[in-house]
């Protein structure tokens, strides 16, 4: 059995695929100086174009994707990525960020329109499209809160950020990067933040509270208005992690819940492609009192022109080069303009419908539902006693479906977090439930079945321990 080759292992000296235009002229030594030149060329692949195509096409076939497979990953919102959006993005590829803004009015109009749409959808007053990912948006938001407190003379006093214990890891990581200490508050038996612990944790040292709503269990925090009032009463700012917006988009707005800062994950709610891990896009929205701190530049109107507004003296500065992940901002714009308000309402309504439907099916199949109540766009289940989430996940792979999110949130043992999204039909959900039933039946009949899964995937279970103990992070060439 031979290994699937690396592109380097398909190479032969002198082979090549693409040929750029060639310009003859003076040597590099003459133009740049001998001392500036590299001695040995980089050992990049040397393959023919057909071998190149075979390699990356075959690699694509060794990959699950939304296009090919049901992918009910909780907290990821793996909804269908419309092909129309690729056509949309193609119209804006050859734009240079430094071209004369008067000759970029089209893209600037689009970005300005998107700023407005996202403000409307979230109930916030101003939007920055700069952050490159959700975590990047979080850092932006927390830095703005810090700048706000410092401007009010309370920077020294407010050193703490409060997160629920179910929070996504980025929340406390972001707080640390922004120079804060993190205090966790527990989740109560109803799956919502323990309100007494929450109110007790608030104080004059609280800079911010970071919440997701619905939370990471897929449960709507019913006491959100009380929580936001309590936080504001001690002078803290409220941060909304928008990862779960798909549950309420078009039907409820974080601005109305009392949040001061919001980040959105356009690669979740607004279906910009996940791309195998990125690029994401994480715009932030703020209420008016925080608008001066937004990263620069913003897209603004100046009479009948669109401009890039970099004259913002209280801005926290830049979070990244240029203006944002524009290619994906175009895709999100296309989505919002395709759906309109009614379409977005339909998104969250059907996302929540599908999740509750799948919850009932999984319950029938023998799974424990961690909080057995009406949930929103996702829910947390646990396998029957004696079975492990990891093994069930591996068995699902053999059936051509991607498992749900495993072992998150950390506050539920053997957690399986399931989010079908609104773009899946009931038949797909029925089929998924039927596969789970079959897996449980086979597991009961044969103890080795689960431990040996997966059997039919391109590779089987990996020895991750050795990979971590003796990391091999690049290909080693024969000549060292």
């Amino acid at each position: 059995m031979s290994d699937f080759p690396l592109v380097f292992e398909r190479s032969a000296p002198g082979r090549r695929a693409a040929r750029p235009p060639v310009t003859e002229g003076a040597s590099m030594a003459e133009l740049l100086g001998e001392e500036a030149l590299r001695a040995r060329p980089p050992r990049l692949p040397e393959v023919s174009e057909l071998d190149l195509v075979r390699h990356y096409t075959q690699l694509a076939h060794r990959q699950f994707s939304i296009d090919g497979n049901f992918y009910p990953l909780g907290s990821c919102t793996m909804k269908y990525n419309p092909k129309l959006h690729e056509d949309a993005a193609e119209r804006f590829l050859d734009l240079h960020p430094y071209q004369d803004p008067d000759h970029a009015q089209g893209i600037l109009a689009l970005l300005h329109g998107l700023q407005g749409d996202l403000a409307t959808i979230t109930g916030m007053d101003a939007i920055s499209l700069q952050p490159a990912a959700g975590a990047h948006g979080e850092l932006t938001g927390i830095l703005m809160i810090r700048a706000y407190h410092e401007a009010n003379g309370e920077g020294e006093q407010r050193r703490v950020v409060i997160c629920p214990d179910g929070a996504h890891g980025t929340n406390p990581a972001t707080a640390s990067m922004a120079g804060y200490d993190v205090v966790e508050v527990p989740t109560g038996p109803d799956g919502e933040v323990d309100i007494d612990a929450f109110e007790a944790a608030l104080g004059p040292d609280t800079a911010a509270v970071m919440l997701t709503n619905p939370n990471t269990l897929g449960i709507f925090e019913r006491r959100i208005l009380r929580m936001s009032a309590a936080a504001h009463a001690v002078g803290a700012q409220l941060y909304y992690d928008g990862a779960n917006l798909n549950a309420v988009v078009g039907r409820a707005r974080p601005g109305d819940m009392g949040f001061d800062v919001v980040h959105l994950n356009l690669h979740k709610t607004f279906t910009t492609p996940h791309g195998g891990g990125g690029p994401g896009t994480g715009p932030v929205g703020v209420k008016a009192h925080l608008a001066p701190y937004l990263p620069l530049p913003l897209v603004a109107r100046d009479g009948d022109r669109y401009v890039l507004d970099g004259d913002r003296p209280r801005s926290i500065g830049r979070m990244r080069s240029f203006y944002g992940n524009v290619g994906n901002l175009v895709r999100a714009y296309a989505y919002i303009r395709s759906l309109g308000a009614e379409g977005l309402r339909r998104v969250s309504s059907m996302a929540v419908l599908n999740a509750n439907y799948l919850r009932m099916k999984m319950k029938d199949a023998g799974f424990t539902i961690a909080f057995d109540r009406i949930n929103m766009h996702e829910f947390v289940a646990q396998p029957p006693a004696g079975l492990h989430t990891l093994d069930i996940a591996k068995a699902l792979l053999d059936h051509g479906v991607h498992p749900m999110t495993v072992y998150f949130p950390l506050i539920v043992k053997e957690a399986m977090m399931v989010e079908p999204t609104e773009t899946e039909s009931l038949e797909t959900l029925d089929a998924y439930a039927a596969i789970l039933v079959e897996i449980l039946e086979r597991a009961a009949a044969d103890p080795a079945y689960l431990a040996g899964a997966p059997r039919h995937t391109p590779v089987r279970r990996l020895d991750e321990t050795t990979a971590a103990r003796k990391p091999v992070l690049r290909h080693a060439f024969a000549d060292g």
């Binding site: 699937f4 690396l6 380097f8 090549r16 695929a17 750029p20 235009p21 310009t23 003859e24 002229g25 030149l37 590299r38 060329p41 980089p42 990049l44 040397e46 390699h55 990356y56 096409t57 690699l59 694509a60 076939h61 060794r62 990959q63 699950f64 992918y71 690729e86 590829l93 240079h96 960020p97 071209q99 089209g106 893209i107 749409d117 990912a133 850092l139 980025t170 640390s176 993190v182 709507f220 409820a252 791309g275 891990g277 990125g278 500065g317 990244r320 240029f322 203006y323 290619g327 303009r337 395709s338 929540v352 599908n354 929103m376 773009t423 009931l426 391109p458 590779v459 990391p471 690049r474």
Partner: protein, 449 residues
């Protein structure tokens, strides 16, 4: 409604299974006062209308004209095969490869990317990419601070101004100081004396104005003080220029747009970070490693995840969650398509065209900065203010002239860039336009707006 498959029958069936009468019953936990506010969004557009709307917007943008813009983004040759392969649906619509058995496509191509970036930079360990070059520089500075436990970084003013702004944003909350090293008259950075309070010296090569820096001397200066050298590099230039590993850089970072990502008005492309073995445990971002499966097959897996946010939470090396996978994949496929020969031809073409342009401008009486050691880009001193000149040239059908910021103390100036795609006709068009606006050394000519 697009993309949602549910018919009325589907909804009825689902509601019955759940045991509620109405979809709104599922929103019972949302306080009534905030549920279903009116949303003032434009009416939805069908596919035809939407594309026509986007065409109308795009018609107001200047594309597909002679282009001489640089400043960190350039228009380079991207063979047709690159986007066709990288944008296959399986790569575009895949998730992060946490279930390795069904993610070998993403994982292996990332391992290939890490290898290629290591080869280009001459350093052993590359991560799986980051958001962009500027944030990669900021993360490298944070790494150096963690590693050395010092609280100051030194940065050349010739590092891209936006990169320095991002550095400021990331370092401010942690009370890390930034010392700026000013340029000399040749528009390069004099080798500074590095104090032993400095965690890292950060130098860009080629620098923001286009010129080559004395990198081996910079490495020596940093190491003499026990500081790290962070080299901010142009990955395409590394096809011909000495690689950071050869002169002792500890960290090589930069932006990958020039390796095969369309310009897209500035993003998304990707940042890269490549480090020495000693810095592995401090490296932020995703890493793909080689592993074996239970049958002994070679395979690839996300590894050393305990550095990352989903495990270390508040003690993570960074809050970074995603990488710029799809953009990095474009570069991976592109580098494999071009190979070392193609990449070298592009780099050489870039250098020759940029030098041809500079020579043509000098012959025409333009005030080109005298330093001849530049890669793709150089400084032109101008009569008009930079942004004004850029507008005038755009009106004449040429995209050229990234304004040189006032902080460089050069007065009115722009940078001009060329690549292997630049043609003789392009250069003639630029010269004609510059002549037309009175920039080619003809004193007393009336400038037409």
């Amino acid at each position: 409604m697009p993309y949602v498959p549910h018919t009325d029958d589907d909804v009825r069936r689902a509601l019955a299974a759940i045991g509620v009468d109405d979809v709104d019953d599922l929103f019972v936990d949302v306080p009534a006062e905030i549920l279903d506010p009116p949303l003032d969004l434009p009416a939805p557009m069908d596919e035809v209308t939407l594309l026509a709307h986007l065409d109308a917007l795009a018609a107001r943008d200047q594309q597909a004209v002679p282009t001489f813009l640089g400043g960190g983004v350039r228009r380079h040759f991207i063979p047709a095969v690159t986007p066709r392969l990288a944008m296959q649906g399986e790569f575009v619509t895949a998730y992060t490869p946490y279930q390795a058995e069904v993610a070998q496509g993403v994982l292996q191509s990332t391992f290939e990317f890490q290898t290629m970036m290591s080869e280009l930079t001459g350093l052993p360990i590359a991560n799986a990419s980051m958001y962009d070059g500027a944030s990669a520089v900021a993360e490298a500075a944070l790494l150096a601070v963690r590693q050395t436990r010092r609280e100051t970084v030194m940065v050349s003013r010739a590092v891209h101004p936006e990169t320095r702004e991002v550095l400021q944003t990331y370092l401010w909350p942690l009370d890390i100081d930034i010392e700026v090293v000013d340029l000399g008259p040749s528009l390069t950075t004099p080798v500074p004396t590095v104090g032993d309070h400095v965690a890292a010296l950060i130098v860009q090569d080629p620098n923001h104005l286009g010129y080559l820096e004395s990198m081996p001397a910079m490495a020596a200066a940093a190491h003499a003080a026990g500081a790290l050298l962070i080299a901010v590099v142009d990955p395409l230039a590394l096809a011909v220029l000495r690689e950071p590993g050869s002169y002792g850089a500890d960290i090589a970072v930069g932006d990958g747009q020039v390796l095969g990502v369309p310009m897209q008005f500035g993003g998304p492309a990707f940042g890269f970070m490549v480090v020495t073995d000693a810095l592995l445990r401090q490296l932020p971002g995703r890493l793909v490693g080689q592993a074996s499966d239970v049958d002994g097959r070679r395979a690839f897996v996300l590894t050393l995840q305990a550095r990352e946010q989903h495990i270390r939470r508040s003690k993570a090396k960074s809050n970074i969650c995603s990488n710029h996978q799809l953009a990095a994949l474009l570069a991976t496929v592109n580098m494999a398509a071009l190979g070392p020969a193609g990449l070298r031809e592009m780099a050489e073409g870039t250098v020759r065209r940029a030098h041809q342009l500079a020579a043509a401008l000098r012959s025409a009486g333009a005030d080109v900065a005298p330093n001849e050691r530049f890669f793709a880009e150089f400084v032109l001193r101008t009569r008009a203010e930079g942004a004004t000149l850029r507008r005038r040239l755009a009106k004449r059908g040429v995209r050229a002239g990234v304004p040189v910021a006032a902080e460089y103390g050069i007065g009115n100036a722009v940078t001009l860039a060329a690549t292997e795609l630049t043609t003789d006709a392009d250069i003639e068009a630029l010269l004609a336009a510059l002549h037309d606006v009175g920039e080619l050394g003809v004193v007393g000519t009336e400038v037409v707006a």
